[in-house]
Assembly symmetry: D2
Homo-oligomer: 343 residues x 4
């Protein structure tokens, strides 16, 4: 059994990691830490886990984490980059769910995250944990930077199209919609029930931190810089991301449906729906899945891709476990093969 | 007092008309009809109106409606076009909230609504009831075709930009999100609480009936055909539309904020928010208002317009009363000057 | 015009007072204060009020408030009791929406609110502002203690029954359900969208602060202490309270429906629905109304009363304005006669 | 592997059975029927099951079902009672999720369900499938009548108290709240998003079909008829039932917490929370669990029990699989040991 540790277990991605790992046939939870809730039992704080986890949250100490084979960081940005070196030095693998190792360029990191990167040396080594793009490199990695939730939905949706070279790479648009759990469990006025419920708004239209991350990924796909407009929206629901992607076709694009089906035919967690479909975030809720549909309205030159995930699963904790499976040599599906909760 | 009649008073736009008209200082409700609920008192069916409306739903007979100065049609598509001539012949003004008179070309109507238009002669006379575009013509009209909910949000959002001539008119994108009340009070599986709640999906990505209506309006603004991709989404809330509009700037566009503020400076129901704003559908809920914000992310050549309305008010019943005010010579604000319900 | 001031205008009851007062034909808003947001314009913080209120939030200074005829306190508990004396001394009437003057006994106040009452002398003078119980005294009062939201729904529901003397007064049960806006705009984990959405729980089952308030009111109705069990629940919605009340009939109770209709026949804001009805919180949303239905399941000896209000209107700001109307000699309906927003 | 069939697989309980059974280590789905959707693939109709179920819905023919070891009925009331005999005659075990075999007395069945019972002979043989009450009898049964959703939450909550004999059995009150999925996937106006969302109401206060079922169960617990008032409420959420139970203590009741903990100490699916807790329906969402808390407000003689379940799992499909496990000799936990989805 792989011994797993979780640093920062009291946020939504942390508790979702716990939910997935307690059902994982090849992994056991050795430690779960939380500065703020150390000493409390997991089941008291998260009653959904009563009877499944018999642990207390502990202080995030290296000695404790050193007993693990793999450590997940489900911490706010800025924590992992100060602790990862000590873990790697003890031959512990790290899967970081925060943004600390996602951007390759420390200057861009500083620009978007507001402080110098504390561990720039590891930025090059860290592998961006989108298995559908980087599976082989992930398998050999010690340090995984799990993609953000929006970047997962947007990059999976654009992947075949951008690789194909048949679109105008300067005018990509990603109109993305997310449930409120994407904002985490921090108390903030905009995600109060009375504020976020029964309403809808865009935010960060002038620039969201996931923009440079997506641009970096799209550039990797096609080998050149892309022009992307990314507008996220807050939706009155808890889980789910829906990315509506727009691109203008410039080259040959006879059968986009076939292009998508072929690209993802070996992917167990990406499902291209039949022509004419409109994926519903509900149908991936709680599941490590991405549902994609391809549209070309009225046969024009604009293609519309609909890509949905559960932001806490394929957009965070599920993808992190998928990465753990890969770096630990387990079956990629282990612990992740379950249908979504409908309705 | 203007005597008003409502045909089809038991749908959401009908009951919203009732809510607005009972508070209107210059209008009285003379008759409200419903084939399915004739004989029932309004207050029994809609307890929110108990004590405000002392009427029963009646059969939609011309003799009854002939006692009115103005008649609203809040009926499914296909009803108004069979009754309007008889009313106009009796000098009764008509405000149609259905789609029957929105499209100028009967062939396009047939293509999107699936049957020949029953009253093509009046299509030319009917005035498209978007006051911000057609106020002067509305004032002289006998027959108003109220815009659809999506078309209201999208056209108001694009109006200054398309008039300005400084964008690529062939690559417009409207990503629109609507609450479930837009689907009306018909029983359909997709708008059950358990289906539409806690989920999000696009629909009609290949072509929604509001597409030709929006195209027709945009063409009127700039005098030439436009290329528009329009993708509507169903959002887990009841009221509200958020249109996120994308266009590529080609010409001079130094100060878009000023352009929008100038264009709408005399409009009492369109409010351009300060730079950097993200309008929230909550803030127009129950109000006859459109809130608009203008963004140009990272100073690039893509402009992003955020436009929100309450689909049942500025997108339907409120705009209908605004049109009634104009064709009856009342103050345009009459009965419509109230703040949104927050939270 | 009555000049009105609001102390603590940035919470949900404060902004709801603003929404109601801007439409009030006999009152004008002279000042609105907020320690935390002083200097900000009302419309910037609450965009639903753009174009309706042209004021900035100011510091809560007595000199400023002294220009008002009536001052509302929409503050957290503990503020009004430190400022009211200075206002009364200047002949300004006070309508307090907080709990400071609701309980007559300062010892009980201390027991439930955790500190000694700062102004016990005024407790006797303060009139409990439930017009359906205390209208005549309210009309002559200088200081009104507005009822809490739960106490309004529960007391109105029990009123005819408790007055009638035909029930067991020792076994009353009030199972109450409230939307999240009842918790205010304070940031707290339990009212985050991701916590309160799609879920339901009881809270404070062992004793909620509204319990002594309700008991005091019920005792006033019948002249003797009552035994009440009160369990509030948090419901995944924003506005609305539904109180389900249970009592055992001991005496003659032939026609409870008639009893209720008679008791409330002159009340403009309490509406007894026809027999067999189940009031829906939706039908009072945004309205200063209480809908009540009376049931006696299977003709047994348990009576079930269903009583619904909008917690922010009849349960707070609307009732406060109703009290203002009474103490200022205005029409009790002024500014409050509008239908609920449906759907 | 147990071969399982599902009759009526297109409602919410049917699709939930599918979701649970595809993950069950000891059962395989042999057939799933639907009159209305026969011929359609399961994955097309329910995209959450794409990749998990490779079946089409078929006509409900006995020959097909005869290949199964156990058949579930997830049909509307009135179907199972016409098909069960033929299945039992072929040695197939039946787990009926409808109400057909819940009531022992065919006259009471007729009174509440409006038609004579079609199969009264089997009423005596059928075992009421609440394992916490009837485990031993369930293990030997051929025909299980699965409890309704409300009856599950209410009976589990009352069980220790009613068995204890220390309460007034004539004045029990069950105030129950359910999400909209309890109404099924039938299209009905009251469960439209725009009707059920953001609102709350009681229904069937004068008598709900689950009332005689609960009374029958409570009588079994204590051996005498009980007096119960049961008021269900529709809550704006999808999954979850919260039963708030009230009883008056008459005898010795020193430690109710200990009473509950002892009664359920061997139950794997009932969890008595620590003193002072308020269970949240969220924490059992998707899980076959009942969370219970015991309160005695202010030490008075009224006890308040809070009991929550997921109506589609412990209140329907999960409990049905628990029964299948018991009648087929499998581990009672098989396929059901998974934490709830939070948030």
């Amino acid at each position: 059994m792989i011994q797993a540790g979780i640093v920062g277990g009291t946020g939504y991605t942390g508790v979702e990691l716990l939910r997935i790992l307690v059902q994982h046939p090849g992994a056991a939870i050795r430690a779960v830490t939380s500065r703020s809730d150390a000493g409390q039992s997991v089941g008291d704080l998260y009653p959904n886990l009563r009877g499944f986890v018999d642990l207390e949250f502990s202080q995030p100490e290296i000695e404790l984490l050193a007993e693990c084979d793999v450590v997940f960081f489900a911490t706010p940005n800025g924590t992992a980059m100060r602790m990862v070196e000590a873990l790697l030095a003890r031959d512990i693998k790290v899967v970081d769910l925060s943004a600390d190792f996602r951007l390759k360029d420390p200057l861009i990191w500083k620009q978007w995250y507001g402080e110098p990167h504390a561990c720039p040396d590891l930025l090059r080594e860290a592998v961006y944990g989108l298995p559908e793009m980087n599976r082989d490199r992930i398998k050999k990695a010690r340090l995984i930077a799990c993609p953000g939730c929006y970047p997962t939905a947007v990059q999976l949706g654009f992947l075949p199209l951008v690789e194909s070279g048949s679109i105008d790479l300067q005018g990509l648009i990603a109109d993305a919609k997310s449930g409120a759990s994407g904002a985490g469990r921090k108390v903030q006025v905009p995600v109060l029930m009375s504020e976020a419920g029964e309403s809808l708004k865009a935010y960060a239209a002038d620039g969201h931190r996931h923009l440079p991350e997506i641009r970096q990924g799209l550039k990797q796909m096609c080998g050149e810089p892309v022009g992307l407009t990314f507008v996220p929206h807050l939706i009155p629901m808890i889980r789910g991301i829906h990315a509506t992607l727009y691109a203008r076709i410039t080259g040959e694009a006879d059968d986009l449906q076939a292009l998508y089906e072929a690209r993802f035919s070996d992917e167990c967690f990406v499902d291209v729906l039949p022509p004419g479909s409109h994926p519903d975030t509900r149908n991936v809720k709680g599941a490590n899945r991405c549902h994609i549909a391809v549209h070309r309205p009225q046969g024009g030159d604009t293609v519309v891709i609909l890509s949905v995930i559960d932001n806490l699963v394929k957009g965070a904790a599920g993808q992190a476990v998928q990465n753990m499976n890969l770096i630990c040599g387990l079956d990629e599906l282990a612990g992740l093969h379950a249908p979504a909760l409908y309705p």
